[in-house]
């Protein structure tokens, strides 16, 4: 509590004195979760196929000190409550086949590494699949259970559990082969100036990360931290929910979570973060 007050005052003072530049940079800080998971939150070099970024930063660097600290310990990270809830669901039998996730996959730790490659091309289905889609494929086709809505708490909690066991591992989505056409489409969207404000993702997250847009400290809009626990909403939020909100903020017509457009955009944005550690569930304001 004390720390939070201090941090708040410092930030405000710096704001007033410096004409912003001092607080406009990503925080120079390192993230180690629970004293053992070393996170790669910054790299000196983005992948070669990303033209617009020289270095990569996790969104973690752009949050206030008290928010950053929360993510460093699972007892302080409110997103871990979602992970706990999903762990129970993982072990609970559901659906006509009398199975739980655990019946086929044993412990959640068996999912280590999965998040680093999401979304990925599903050969059997012949299309790009996000983690939500793989989860629902298991529920509907292997468990005989009802599919979850994209933004339901069951779904977002389960993506948090599956991400949590990959924390620290670098994102590594495939962008070639069958993924390439999705990647191209996502890239085109990333540079499209949507809405009445005519703003593209790149205007805010490539050209202006580190700057402030009113009270918001702009990050690179990376998705290695998803799902993120947003203090403002007091709940976990999915990747597509965030995309939807950012397009709405351009005074634009958004796309629906789970739409082909947002799936393609997810692949492209994930590839911009290849090399950054999986952080989900992370904490943001």
């Amino acid at each position: 509590m004390k720390m939070r007050i201090l941090a708040g005052t410092c930030a405000l003072a710096a704001f007033a004195l410096s004409g912003l530049s001092a607080v406009a940079d990503p925080a120079d800080d390192t993230l180690v979760v629970n004293g053992e998971i070393q996170m790669i939150t910054h790299t000196d070099k983005a992948p070669d196929y990303i033209d617009g970024l020289s270095e990569q930063y996790s969104g973690w660097h752009f949050r206030e000190a008290d928010t950053r600290v929360m993510q460093a310990d699972d007892f302080d990270n409110p997103g871990m409550l979602g992970v706990e809830a999903a762990t129970e669901v993982w072990n609970a039998v559901d659906g006509s086949e009398g199975k739980a996730c655990a019946s086929c996959h044993e412990a959640p730790e068996s999912m280590a590494g999965v998040r680093t490659q999401m979304p990925s091309f599903n050969e059997a289905k012949g299309e790009m699949y996000t983690m939500e889609m793989y989860i629902n494929e298991c529920r509907a086709e292997r468990m005989g259970a009802e599919a979850w809505d994209w933004d339901s708490s069951d779904m977002v909690n389960m993506t948090a559990l599956i991400s949590s066991v990959s924390r620290g591992m670098p994102m590594n989505v495939a962008v070639d082969g069958p993924a390439q056409s999705y990647w191209e489409k996502g890239k085109e969207m990333y540079y499209t100036r949507y809405g009445q404000l005519e703003l593209a993702c790149s205007n805010c997250h490539e050209d202006n990360y580190g700057n402030f847009i009113r009270a918001d400290h702009l990050s690179q809009g990376q998705i290695n931290g998803f799902p993120v626990y947003r203090l403002k909403d007091a709940k976990l939020s999915s990747i597509h929910n965030r995309f939807k909100g950012c397009i709405r903020d351009t005074r634009g017509e958004t796309f629906k979570p789970g739409s082909p457009e947002l799936i393609a955009l997810e692949l492209y944005v994930a590839s911009r973060g290849n090399g950054l550690s999986v952080e989900g569930p992370s904490v943001r304001n």
């Binding site: 809405g195 009445q196 703003l199 202006n208 009113r214 702009l218 351009t250 017509e253």
Partner: protein
């Protein structure tokens, strides 16, 4: 289809410019500048100050610092500070920048405040739903004049 046309008409009647105001599509830019007043009514700098600082209006301080407004919290720095803007630009140039900055700064991130067409997936304000009917520009002609009047007070 018919319904939509009717709706469009109704909306455009609502959003119709005040008597004598130049419609967004009729504004003529010369090297980014707009010569004459959009309304014929002198701008009011105090109103302009409100438009500049209000989140629901121009919200110019989302991107620009204006030291003359110390009470306005959280001024952003995506754009340059507007301190001294009147020393750098003429009234005509400022009117052009506020009406449609892309005519002065090619490809700028700054939104076009007096324009109502040519968008990709325009929304119904910040609802995330598709816009229906004719769009109103982000600011009215008189608000543009008010903002310009305020900017003209920013001398160093």
């Amino acid at each position: 289809m018919k319904r939509q046309i009717v709706l469009g008409l109704a909306l455009s009647a609502l959003a119709a410019p005040a008597m004598g105001a130049t419609a967004p599509s009729a504004v003529s830019f010369a090297e980014g500048a707009v010569a004459g007043s959009l309304t014929g009514t002198a701008g009011n700098p105090e109103e302009g100050m409100k438009v500049i600082s209000d989140r629901g209006l121009g919200n110019c301080v989302a991107c620009h610092v204006i030291s003359a407004m110390p009470d306005v919290a959280f001024q952003g720095n995506v754009g340059p500070t507007l301190d001294g803007a009147a020393d750098r630009w003429s009234e005509q140039q400022l009117r052009g920048i506020v009406a449609d900055a892309k005519k002065t700064f090619d490809g700028t991130i700054m939104p076009s405040f007096y324009k109502n067409e040519g968008y990709i997936r325009p929304g119904d304000a910040f609802t995330g739903k598709a816009a229906e009917g004719e769009l109103a520009p982000l600011l009215t002609a008189q608000q543009i004049e008010d903002v310009v009047a305020y900017l003209l007070t920013l001398k160093e």
